[in-house]
Structures are given as structure tokens and as C-alpha cells.
């Protein structure tokens, strides 16, 4: 530990801590634009200038200086205060005065820092530099070069974190501007994070653009429902609409990054065509009438009943389906959408966070970039920042190939297990010097999963590694634990209940009775006898189990509008209509039962603590 003094506060911090981070620990704000705690420091914007002794009597950038024993940092000397005010004046010299219509206005560090650290008056009277704007960087991201403060967070993120080559800087000096490579649209699935990173309104979401002011929204920390990684997200609500999704840093899983599916794929929640009342034979009906009709259509069908389940089925829904399948719907065939062929885990599997400790990472039969995007970023971090070595077994090129040290074994599809068996003698795995992480997918159906899982298990045992099965379906692991992650063929069933989106393969010709629970009325539903209006991830309660086995709660960001009902409520009432009274009057007793049913759901009995209030920012406090 190193002892330092910051504005009179004595503290000890680990060796290597940057001054700007040390200051946070005592609640002192050192303003930054270019510095970001997940990116390598560059010292470009110079916003964080402070006075440091011992050292030359000049302003020093706090974001690139590690602490040293006995260092005294002063943020409030005349020189430091003036240095920062001067930087802000420079940042504003060419900044357009469009704060009133800027999406960032209200949550903009440039505004806040100018208020807290800038000069009270402006001496900027000359003409400002102009760029064509806004420029569509992609269908989802707009770039405003006039607002840009050139902190390079976006380009550095692209280089360091995403390993993509799509974003760069053009020209030089005051004419420098951010541009996509060869002016081509950004294609990366990780592109949206640059919106969160941008400290000004230069990079904004075209999906959210001009939708609302930041202070006009309420926000709710929740969990993403698009894949099995289960990233933490913040959902933003305004007047009953879900208007924005941003990341919500969780170092156990996502480290503050989310993929574009999780960020931009939400507008269906606000679709004016949302289904709100039940339909029986195409006509609006009461819930009671609809559930009675549904129960009549599916009861006692045995194996003639098919049930299709969505990938984002909650644990609670899965548990209720389990009860129905054990009772009135016994024998029904079940198919879960979007799941892999990976079998249920035998026990605890490796945690995403443990990738940071891995010395060698083996990725088998998975296109992680698309299957589990944020795990892909975590692997990249382990390789480029923490020195892990990477072995990929995959038939096609993957983005990991951009690191020249990556060992890529291009196997013939179906032969992954054979390749994994050979790996035990691989040079990198002979003495890995630490944890070996073995991540495996199902090659989208090309691999024999019993064989591959066995091969990975044998490899893990031999090299002392840990396994991480890469499930794809959002709650595939929860559905596996409850035994509803069916893999049955629905051909030949006479009655079909589509819980969630319709079957991609179409309704089998044999189906005489079709029922659906969906939030949009789709063409596939026109033949349905019963259609129930569904809630979405933005408004329903429940929980998901992510690919590492972590149980996480969905928190409703948008209030349910009657006559919509919670999914667990619909299933409980359906059970009553089928003659099974489960007696759940609320979700908490249900969650307690789910928790008791299987050790994998134990966390459901312990709802997480509410979010702590953000710490107040101190400026100019020199009194310890």
C-alpha cells in the first residue's frame, strides 16, 4: 500500500493506483473526459490537471500518474483550478451551443464540469469551427463532430476492448474528427457502447434520438433478456414507454459493456399494435373466457399436445410449466426456442469473472461474438490486458484471429470432440501456469454434444481446468434445471400452445387447436383459437439464470397496463382452469417455492438489496 494525501485527506491505496482513482476514494472529483476506468489511460484531454508534490511546479495529469509514497495531491490550488478552467474554455471554444436540443443535455459531463470547474463568464466571441452533422455512423448511431471533444474513448474502446478496426481519427490538429474506416457504416455488434462512453453528445443513439430528455425519464436497473450472458442493463421509461437501454456496470459479468442486441432491440415494447386483450377465435374476449377456451383445447391431450417455449422464459414460468407438465398436461411434447444442444451441467460451472484469472482459454465450437457477445469481450480482455493465451477450435474464422498469438484450430464440422481430445498434449496446456478455462458451445448443431461435453470434461480434468458451457438461450440454464428445456419434435401434435414467439418452422399441418401467448398479433396467430396478450421483458417480474448459473431478477421498468397480466399470473390461472389450484396470490410465494424446488434457484429466496444511492461529489473540500 502507498500513502498519499489528496486535498488534505490522508489515504493508503494499492501500488499502481492512478491519482484520479485514489481521489474517488475520498469523494473528490477530478474531472475527466478521456480517462475511463475500463480503458488504458492516455492523458489526451488534460481535464484532470492537478498539482502534485514532490514534482516540478507544473500542472500534472492525474489520469496517467500512478500514486507514489508520500505524494501530496492538491486539486484546489490556484494553478490547478485555473488549468482546468482553461481546458474547459478550450473545449468550449468550438463547441456548438445546441445544448437545448442535445440528447446528452442533462447528463453531460461537459455541462457538469463547466458548471463545477469552468470560468463563470465566456470570452469566446469568434466564429466556431463547423462540420457537416449529424453523420449516420450506422443505422443506430449518429455522430456530431462539432460536439466532439476528441477524447478518443470511442476509438480506444474499438481498439482495446472490441478488437475492431471500424473507427478512427481523420485529419489532424483542430480539424481532427472521428470517422468510420473508409466511411463505411459500423457493423460491429459491440458498436453501441461508444454511445455510453461518449462524454458529450457527439455519439448518440438514432433509436432514441430526440425522444426525451434525460431528466424526463425514470430508470431501472434490470437484466438483459437477449441471450444467456445476462448482462446488467438500465432501462429508461417515459410515459409508459421504454425509450432507452444503456449498460449498467457489473464487474461479475459485463464490466459495463452490452451488445447492440441488448441496447437497440427494444422498440417492439412500444409497438402501437401491442396486443392488450385476449382473443378467442379472433374476437376480443375476457381473460376468463380465453383461459377456459385454452384449457378446453389442451386438456387431456397427452402426447398430442405440443408446447413451444421462448428462450427468455423466466424461472417462474418454467417452474409453473413444470407443475403443469407434472399434472394436467402430463406427457405433452415441449420444445424450447433458441437453445443449444448442450446438456444440463453436472454441477457448478466456471463463473464469467473467473476468465480474468485464466492463463489459457480454450473456446470450442462457438462463434462467441454472436452467441455470447459479452463473454467474447471478456475473453478479449483476458488475452490483451491480462496476458492469457487463447486456443480456438472452430471451423470458420472468428474475431479472435485478430490477435496473432491466438491458436486457431480449424476443425471439420462435427470433429470438435476429436480435436479437444488432442489438445491435452498441446504445448500451451502442458504447463499452463494457472487456470485453464474451457468454454464450449454446440457448433449450432454440428457437434455431438455428449461426446464434446465428455471430451471437454476429460480435458478439464487432465489440465486442471474449469468448464463453461456456452448456453445461448436467455434462460436455457434455468429451463434445464426445471426440466422444461425440451428438445422434442412437435410434428404430429394436434394441439399446440405457443408461449412466446411463433415457431420459426411454421405450425405443423397436424395441429387442430392452436393457442398463443404473445405481445404482438402476428400473421401466424390468425389461425389461433386463443391468443393471450403477453408482457415483455420491460414490464414483467421474474428471474433468469444465466449461462454461468447466476440467478438474476428482472425489474419492471414500465408499469403493466390492465388488462395485461403478469406471465406467472396467467399460468397460475391457466392451472386453475385445468383443475390445478397452485394458490399463488403473488410472485414472492412463487419464487420461494421455486427456490425450494432446486438448489440452482436458492438465490430466488433472497431478493437483492436495493441499489445504493450514488455518493455525493465533493468539490473543493479540503477538510478531512
Amino acid at each position: 500500500m502507498v500513502h498519499v494525501t489528496i486535498d488534505g485527506h490522508a489515504l493508503s491505496v494499492p501500488d499502481g493506483t492512478l491519482v484520479v482513482e485514489a481521489a474517488k476514494q475520498v469523494g473528490i472529483e477530478i474531472p475527466v473526459f478521456c480517462y475511463h476506468h475500463k480503458l488504458e489511460p492516455v492523458g489526451a484531454c488534460r481535464m484532470c490537471l492537478v498539482e502534485i508534490t514532490p514534482g516540478p511546479p507544473v500542472a500534472q495529469a492525474a489520469c496517467i500518474r500512478p500514486v507514489q509514497e508520500g505524494m501530496v495531491v492538491k486539486t484546489q490550488t490556484g494553478m490547478a483550478v485555473q488549468a482546468r478552467a482553461d481546458i474547459l474554455e478550450f473545449e468550449l471554444a468550438n463547441h456548438p451551443l445546441d445544448c437545448p436540443v442535445c440528447d446528452k443535455g442533462g447528463e453531460c459531463p461537459l455541462q457538469d464540469f463547466t458548471f463545477r470547474h469552468g470560468y463563470p463568464t465566456s470570452r469566446i466571441d469568434g466564429p466556431r469551427l463547423h462540420f457537416k452533422k449529424p453523420i449516420p455512423l450506422s443505422p443506430t448511431i449518429a455522430l456530431d463532430r462539432e460536439r466532439c471533444v476528441l477524447c478518443y474513448r470511442c476509438t480506444r474502446y474499438y481498439d482495446e476492448v472490441a478488437w475492431e478496426q471500424e473507427l478512427t481519427v481523420g485529419a489532424r490538429g483542430v480539424e481532427s474528427f472521428i470517422t468510420s474506416q473508409f466511411d463505411q457504416p459500423l457493423k460491429s455488434i459491440f458498436s453501441g457502447n461508444i454511445i455510453d462512453l461518449c462524454p458529450v453528445g457527439a455519439l448518440t443513439s438514432r433509436v432514441w434520438r430526440f425522444e426525451s430528455r434525460p431528466w424526463d425519464m425514470t430508470h431501472t436497473a434490470s437484466v438483459c433478456s437477449k441471450c444467456a450472458v445476462g448482462c446488467s442493463v438500465t432501462m429508461w421509461q417515459r410515459r409508459g414507454q421504454l425509450v432507452r437501454i444503456t449498460s449498467h456496470e457489473n464487474d461479475d459479468i459485463d464490466e459495463g459493456w452490452i451488445c447492440d442486441r441488448g441496447r437497440f432491440d427494444y422498440t417492439d415494447v412500444n409497438d402501437p399494435q401491442r396486443l392488450r386483450t385476449p382473443l378467442v377465435n379472433g374476437s376480443r374476449a375476457t381473460w376468463n373466457a380465453a383461459l377456459v377456451a385454452l384449457a378446453a383445447g389442451i386438456k387431456g391431450k397427452g402426447a398430442k399436445l405440443g408446447i413451444s417455449l421462448p428462450q427468455d422464459l423466466t424461472n417462474e414460468e418454467a417452474f409453473l410449466f413444470r407443475r403443469l407438465l407434472d399434472g394436467p398436461l402430463k406427457g405433452a411434447k415441449v420444445k424450447m426456442h433458441g437453445r443449444t444442444a448442450i446438456p444440463a451441467p453436472a454441477g457448478e460451472t466456471m463463473r464469467i469473472r473467473e476468465l480474468d484469472d485464466a492463463k489459457v482459454i480454450v473456446v470450442v465450437a462457438s462463434d462467441t461474438e454472436n452467441d455470447v457477445p459479452i463473454v467474447n469481450l471478456r475473453i478479449k480482455k483476458a488475452v490483451s490486458k491480462l496476458g492469457a493465451r487463447l486456443i480456438v477450435v472452430h471451423p470458420e474464422g472468428v474475431d479472435f484471429d485478430r490477435d496473432r498469438r491466438t491458436v486457431h484450430i480449424r476443425n471439420a464440422p462435427g470433429s470438435a470432440a476429436a480435436e479437444v481430445r488432442k489438445l491435452a498434449d498441446h504445448e500451451l496446456l502442458k504447463s499452463p501456469g494457472g487456470l485453464v478455462a474451457i468454454l464450449f458451445g454446440d457448433g449450432h448443431g454440428s457437434e455431438d454434444m455428449n461426446e464434446l461435453a465428455a471430451a471437454c470434461g476429460a480435458l478439464a480434468e487432465k489440465v486442471g481446468g474449469k468448464e463453461m458451457p456456452l448456453y445461448r438461450g436467455t434462460n436455457e440454464r434455468g429451463a434445464l434445471a426445471t426440466g422444461v428445456a425440451g428438445w422434442d419434435s412437435l410434428d404430429g401434435v394436434e394441439a399446440l400452445l405457443c408461449w412466446g414467439p411463433p415457431l420459426t418452422s411454421g405450425v405443423p399441418a397436424s395441429v387442430k387447436f392452436l393457442a398463443a401467448w404473445d405481445h404482438l398479433l402476428r400473421p401466424a396467430h390468425h389461425k389461433a383459437a386463443v391468443v393471450l396478450p403477453a408482457t415483455t421483458f420491460a414490464e414483467q417480474q421474474g428471474s433468469y439464470t444465466n449461462l454461468e448459473g447466476r440467478v438474476q431478477f428482472l425489474r419492471p421498468a414500465v408499469a403493466i397496463q390492465a388488462p395485461l397480466k403478469e406471465s406467472w399470473e396467467v399460468l397460475t390461472e391457466l392451472a386453475v382452469a385445468l383443475g390445478l389450484d397452485l394458490g399463488y396470490a403473488g410472485i414472492f410465494p412463487l419464487q420461494r417455492d421455486v427456490a425450494a424446488s432446486n438448489a440452482a434457484f436458492a438465490d430466488l429466496a433472497r431478493p437483492p438489496a436495493p441499489e445504493p444511492e450514488p455518493a455525493p461529489v465533493l468539490i473543493g473540500s479540503t477538510h478531512p
Binding site: V42, D86, R172
Partner: protein, 435 residues
């Protein structure tokens, strides 16, 4: 054939420059060239080389004035992988042309020095990053490297010693900032030339992330002489603290502009009036830049300032890269400063805020002043901009240099600034500006 220029106390760098065809290896060797490298690889240890240079007191001639031996000793000795000497031949400082002069006369002198330095840090390869516009020096260096390799002086076994040494040539990308050592390394790696933040310093993490010492051409060209004669003999030249000789380039309003080797400690009066012949007939010297455009100006009344580097530092200016720019009383300082600011704003890489915006803001303010639309406000802006560029505000020295131009010219020639800004006249050029 190169013209021999006057020196004091016996020349070091230009010792053999009167010899015809010095750029050819056999001519260079006949005079004693490559004997230093032979001596180093066939008997000296790396530590002995560093010690010899330490005794000489040689300091970096690129402008930073950092002790060369100390810089070499910062390169970790026990680092297992490759280590590099990178030669900064991206001479771009306005007013400085000494490296070009050295390269065009004696390219082998640099190669020998670079090879010795590479040996001293325990490396095997040196990279010469040469300014893209330097065509003739590039060709001469290229030919010289080929000659030395053919002779076996560079290569797997220089002079039979089992210690591979080689020098590689890399043409620069044509920007002033490429001469800043970390931006040079970025450019050498094929990236956009922008300075890196320090720490880590190049000695720990330099070219391609490996330990690197970046040295100026003149610095390395001095090293063979030091090895041949001895550090102690080099140290007899110069002043007590600033040893040796150095090259200066005199340009501007003098009778004999050119490159001169001087003993450190002589006065600027000696250089400008005696070596360079003084002011043009009928004119009076007004102001000079003592060490490239990046050094703070001194008025002619301070001609008796010594070239002693520490003395210059005490005056707030520097010997820099040795480019002495002289301006006489027929030129307006405000216009001169405005021209330089245009250069600095144009050459700003754009990475850090103060330099990117400040330089441009200063240019726009100068433009307003010179267009006759100036006011006290503009003087205040210039004053605040120059403060905002200096003293650690910027990532590298380019911003500081731009600030120094404004600050030093405003300090010494406040009257000219006020004439332009407040009265729209110029007593120097005797015409109403903007009229």
C-alpha cells in the same frame, strides 16, 4: 566537398569535413573512422562505453538537453528480448538544419555512433527515423549502410566480433510532430504520429513496446569522437556544466547564414556577429531565437548571452536544437509570431486539448489583430491562451513551444502588439495595417 566552418577549441563533429568524399566509407575510414566501433566491439564492455560517455558530459542535442549516458543507463540491462536505439533524424524544427548538414557530409559518423550506442544498451538493432523530405540524406544513409554491411562493419560479426549490430532506415511521414520522441515511435510502428503519455517512458516501453533509447543525430555523431579520443578530452571543451561543442544553424537576417560548430559557452554575439557576419548592411538586429523556433526569443540587447545551456535555462529559454533565427529591425515581431503560430497550429497533432484548440485560437486572434480588428480583449486572449499552453498543460512540448512564442514576443515587444491591437498601426513596417 563540404566547406569547413569556423570553430573554437578544435572541431569535433566537423573535424574531417574539409575532406572530399567523406561520405564514402574508405575515405571516412582512412581518416580514422570506424576505429571507435572496432575498439568498442573488440574489447570494451557496454558499461565502459556508457562510463566513457558519462565522463564526456555529452547531453542530448535534439533539444531536451538530457545527459546521454543517463538515458542509455535507463534501458534495463536484464531485459531478455530485443532493445533498440532509435535515431531521431526527423529534423523539423524551424531554423534547424544541422542534422541534415551532418548527414550530407558524413553519414558514416552517424552509423558508427548509432552502432556504438546500440552496443552500449545491449541491443543489436538501431532504427534511423529520417524526415520524409530529406531525400539526399536518405539516399546517402542508404548507400552508407549498404557499404558498411558489405564491408562487414555492420551485420552478424562486426569487425569479427560475435556481437551482431545493424542499422535500419525508416522514412518519416512528414509531420513536425514525428520529431517528438514518442510520436516518432508511434510513427515508426506505422501508426498515427501522436505523442504517448509518459510513464511508461521509452526506456521501458518504446518501439514496439520494447526498451528503447531515442537519440538525436548530432548526439550519436559525437559518440565516435568521444570513444576515439576519450570522454575527458571532450569534457575539456565547453563550460563547467555544459561540455563539448555543438552545431548551430544560423538563419534569417545575417550576412552568412549556415551551420557552425561552436564550443558551448561562446556568446550569441560571437555566433551571430562574428561567425555569421552580423546584420545586413544598414540594418540593426532586433530579436533572435536562441534554439529553434520553439525557444523563447531574446531581444538583441541580450546578444551577450552565453550558449551555456544552464545559463539559457535560467533565462527561461533554451539552446534547443541549435537553430538560431535572427530577425532585424525591418520585420514586425507580431507578424513573425503569427506566422510561427500558424505553423504550430497546423502541425498540432490534435491529441491533447490545449494544443489542438489553443494554437488555432491564437491564430484566429492574430488574424484579427493583423486585420486591424484587434482590441485589448485580443491581447487578453493571447495572454490566456499562452498560459493555457504551458507548464504541463499539454501532452508534449509542441504546445509549450507555441505558448512560448506568444509569451516571449509579448514580453519583449509589448509595444508592437499594442500598436497593432489598439491603434492598428505598425511602426516597424511604417504602413497602416489593414488600410
Amino acid at each position: 566537398m563540404a566547406e569547413q566552418r569556423g570553430t573554437v577549441g578544435g572541431p569535433v563533429l566537423t573535424e574531417w569535413f574539409a575532406t572530399a568524399d567523406l561520405h564514402k566509407l574508405d575515405v571516412y575510414e582512412a581518416l580514422g573512422g570506424y576505429s571507435a566501433l572496432r575498439k568498442v566491439v573488440s574489447g570494451m564492455t557496454a558499461l565502459q562505453v556508457i562510463d566513457e560517455v558519462k565522463v564526456s558530459g555529452l547531453r542530448g542535442r535534439g533539444g531536451a538537453d538530457f545527459p546521454t549516458a543517463t538515458k542509455w543507463s535507463f534501458v534495463p540491462k536484464d531485459h531478455p528480448g530485443p532493445k533498440f536505439i532509435v535515431v531521431n533524424a526527423d529534423e523539423s524544427e524551424p531554423g534547424s538544419a544541422k542534422d541534415r548538414y551532418l548527414l550530407e557530409n558524413s553519414p558514416h559518423m552517424l552509423l558508427e555512433g548509432a552502432a556504438i550506442a546500440t552496443f552500449a544498451i545491449g541491443g543489436h538493432d538501431a532504427w534511423v527515423y529520417i524526415r520524409g523530405e530529406y531525400d539526399l540524406p536518405f539516399e546517402m544513409l542508404r548507400d552508407a549502410i549498404a557499404e558498411a554491411r558489405t564491408k562487414g562493419y555492420l551485420g552478424a560479426k562486426p569487425f569479427g566480433a560475435d556481437y551482431p549490430l545493424d542499422v535500419h532506415l525508416y522514412r518519416g511521414h512528414g509531420a513536425y510532430i514525428c520529431g517528438e520522441e514518442t510520436a516518432l515511435l508511434e510513427s515508426l510502428e506505422g501508426k498515427r504520429a501522436q505523442p504517448r503519455s509518459r510513464p511508461p517512458f521509452p526506456a521501458v516501453k518504446g518501439a514496439w513496446g520494447l526498451p528503447t533509447a531515442v537519440n538525436n543525430v548530432e548526439t550519436l555523431a559525437t559518440v565516435p569522437w568521444i570513444i576515439r579520443h576519450s570522454g575527458a578530452e571532450y569534457a575539456t571543451r565547453g563550460t563547467e556544466k555544459a561540455k563539448g561543442t555543438r552545431m548551430v544553424t544560423v538563419s534569417g537576417d545575417v550576412q552568412k547564414p549556415g551551420n557552425y560548430e561552436i564550443e558551448i559557452g561562446v556568446t550569441y554575439r560571437h555566433i551571430i556577429e562574428e561567425l555569421a557576419g552580423g546584420a545586413l548592411p544598414g540594418r540593426k538586429l532586433k530579436v533572435f531565437w536562441p534554439g529553434g523556433s520553439s525557444a523563447k526569443v531574446l531581444p538583441a540587447s541580450m546578444l551577450d548571452t552565453s550558449t551555456d545551456l544552464d545559463g539559457l535555462k535560467a533565462l527561461g529559454t533554451m539552446g534547443g536544437s541549435g537553430g538560431i533565427i535572427v530577425m532585424d529591425d525591418s520585420h514586425c515581431v507580431v507578424k513573425g509570431a503569427a506566422r510561427l503560430l500558424r505553423f504550430y497550429a497546423h502541425e498540432s497533432c490534435g491529441k491533447c486539448t490545449p494544443c489542438r484548440v489553443g494554437g488555432n485560437w491564437a491564430v484566429r486572434t492574430y488574424d484579427r489583430i493583423l486585420a486591424g480588428e484587434g482590441s485589448q480583449l485580443d491581447l487578453n486572449i493571447l495572454d490566456r491562451v499562452q498560459q493555457g499552453l504551458q507548464a504541463g498543460r499539454c501532452l508534449c512540448g509542441l504546445g509549450d513551444a507555441a505558448g512560448w512564442v506568444i509569451q516571449s514576443t509579448m514580453t519583449h515587444f509589448r509595444n508592437e502588439y499594442e500598436e497593432h491591437s489598439l491603434h492598428n498601426t505598425c511602426s516597424v513596417e511604417k504602413v497602416a495595417v489593414g488600410a
